[in-house]
């Protein structure tokens, strides 16, 4: 099989940007043209949440694919996709706070404490924020070995995000169950790494 060249990587990154930006543009058009329902609030929140969870699946697919097909350069797309997880998660939370809660901050903190599914979602967002803030090369170099250890927290996200999804729905549990299955597979594939990481954390 042909190796991914730096030039190929450039185009692949462009394609990834396009495939993560297009859904956001589509959402904006749907909302502006009144095609997101009579009250688009839940639509927007669900849509951006699904975007975040799908981007997380893609992030976690990159290294298995790179290994299986011996495409080392592919690993360089992880930061890009990971930042889209953060971008979609930020939109998801911004929509929840601004459109649903209408900036009732006191109420937000009360809800985070009272509702386990919101707490789980908030934990995911906090992890995503730390990973995004430390995603710059300069910081990565400064952090040395600690960087990888911090970024392994993505596994915790992979566990919590589908739980948050499953827990948040009223009755349509088939789709969230599929996501739980997918994430369990992605984590199972990394069981050795995760074991070592957890051992070090102790």
């Amino acid at each position: 099989m042909k190796r991914l060249t730096p030039r190929g990587l450039f185009w692949l990154k462009g394609l990834l940007h396009l495939s993560f930006l297009t859904p956001i543009i589509y959402l904006v058009v749907m909302v502006l043209t009144d095609n997101a329902g009579g009250d688009p609030v839940q639509y927007i929140i669900h849509y951006t949440g699904m975007g975040a969870i799908n981007a997380l699946v893609v992030t976690l697919l990159i290294s298995p694919i790179a290994k299986r097909f011996r495409q080392g350069l592919l690993l360089q797309t992880r930061r890009l996709v990971g930042l889209y997880v953060f971008a979609y998660a930020s939109l998801h939370i911004a929509a929840f706070i601004s459109l649903d809660l209408l900036f009732a901050w006191g109420f937000l903190f009360e809800e985070i404490i009272k509702r386990p599914y919101i707490l789980v979602g908030a934990a995911c967002f906090i992890i995503a924020t730390f990973l995004a803030l430390t995603s710059f090369q300069a910081i990565k170099r400064k952090m040395g070995k600690g960087w990888q250890s911090l970024h392994n927290w993505v596994y915790v996200m992979a566990l919590l995000a589908p739980i948050h999804f499953y827990w948040s729905v009223k009755s349509e549990i088939i789709e969230p169950s599929i996501y739980i299955g997918v994430f369990v597979l992605l984590l199972w594939y990394r069981r050795k790494t995760i074991k070592q990481w957890l051992f070090k954390l102790k």
């Binding site: 502006l32 009250d39 639509y43 009272k114 948040s168 009755s171």
Partner: protein, 344 residues
């Protein structure tokens, strides 16, 4: 397409649950969303997009473009005690934001999937512990009773709310016509079961895992109260299918899911009937489902609600939820001896 009636006003006999003038949303300071879109030159895009997308899809599946569901105008009176001094939720929001899992679980699914729904012929049967069973057809629903408009607040368990002008008749009137036996303790309701027309009943993924047909129930005392309403219309016209055509129940002091849609059967019984959401998740949805700001749902605080009114995305308001959705004066007596934390 919707003829906006604006907001109904001027009542001598103001009920306790009406909002005061100063609680009403001020004229939106936001420009109308459509003007913004027009200014951005997106209007043409908006007008062309759905049609084209739809046409494209229909082409793919080889069927022709079908017209949307046709609604007809209704004659009705406006009894004073049921007019709220409040801003109505615009019609296009009421008909495009629906929980009607028979047509899909997302809010816009019913609008998209219900337009071909057949309401004629229709049979609504009233049976069980009654003096005489009744069968009403589509015509009976709009001619057998003096229709009236009632503006009711609708509060969804998901913590959003609307103000809706329904047209219809009171449930008690219908039950009196059938003659309720003294042995009766409850009334059970059932939605149409027709998987060919209701894709959510055919496909578990689409129907949210609910056991169909959808069923609901009331105690006989609740049913004979003045508030329970059988709506056959919305905004002065017959109901669109996504709102429960041709006839639905409206119970303004209970969470929206109790207000069963597209009813085909009303059965007077001497037992508490099963109810769909209670069957699915009994710890989350009780039989009574009275709006109660003190008792939270596991996922939604019920202390406040997002009121869906006029204007764009950012013009909604969060308002405190009232006990019995503000209809306590009419219904609180029904629950005098009931622990509402236990019987949620």
């Amino acid at each position: 397409m919707a003829s906006k009636k604006g907001f109904t006003k001027g009542i001598s006999n103001t009920p306790s649950w009406s909002l005061k003038e100063n609680e009403v949303t001020p004229e939106s300071v936001f420009s109308d969303r459509r003007n913004i879109i027009k200014a951005m030159g997106l209007g043409a895009l908006g007008a062309s997009l759905p049609g084209q997308v739809q046409a494209g899809l229909f082409d793919l599946f080889g069927s022709e473009d079908k017209p949307p569901f046709a609604v007809q105008g209704l004659d009705y009176s406006k009894p004073n005690q049921f007019q709220i001094v409040d801003r109505l939720t615009p019609e296009d929001k009421i008909i495009r934001h629906n929980n009607f899992y028979e047509f899909g679980t997302s809010k816009q699914d019913p609008f998209e999937n219900a337009q071909q729904f057949q309401v004629n012929p229709w049979e609504l049967r009233i049976e069980g512990l009654v003096d005489k069973s009744l069968t009403l057809d589509l015509n009976d629903l709009t001619t057998k009773f003096d229709l009236e408009e009632r503006i009711y607040r609708l509060r969804c368990v998901e913590a959003w709310s609307m103000v809706v002008p329904w047209v219809g008749f009171s449930l008690a009137e219908l039950l009196k016509m059938a003659g309720v036996s003294s042995k009766a303790t409850h009334v059970a309701f059932e939605t149409l079961f027709d998987p060919d027309q209701m894709p959510g009943q055919k496909n578990r993924l689409m129907g949210g895992g609910i056991h169909y047909p959808y069923v609901e129930g009331l105690t006989i005392n609740e049913a004979m109260n003045e508030l329970p309403f059988l709506a056959v219309g919305l905004y002065g016209k017959t109901l669109p299918p996504q709102n429960g055509a041709p006839v639905r129940l409206v119970l303004p002091w209970k969470y929206g899911f109790k207000s069963i849609k597209s009813v085909v059967r009303i059965r007077v019984t001497d037992k508490q009937p099963p109810t769909s959401w209670n069957q699915l998740a009994p710890h989350e949805y009780g039989f009574y489902a009275n709006v109660n700001p003190q008792v939270d749902h596991p996922r939604w605080s019920q202390a406040s609600e997002r009121s869906i009114g006029e204007g764009g995305l950012f013009s909604a308001k969060r308002i405190p939820t009232q006990m019995f959705n503000g209809y306590g004066e009419q219904v609180a007596d029904l629950y005098k001896n009931l622990d509402l934390r236990k019987y949620y």
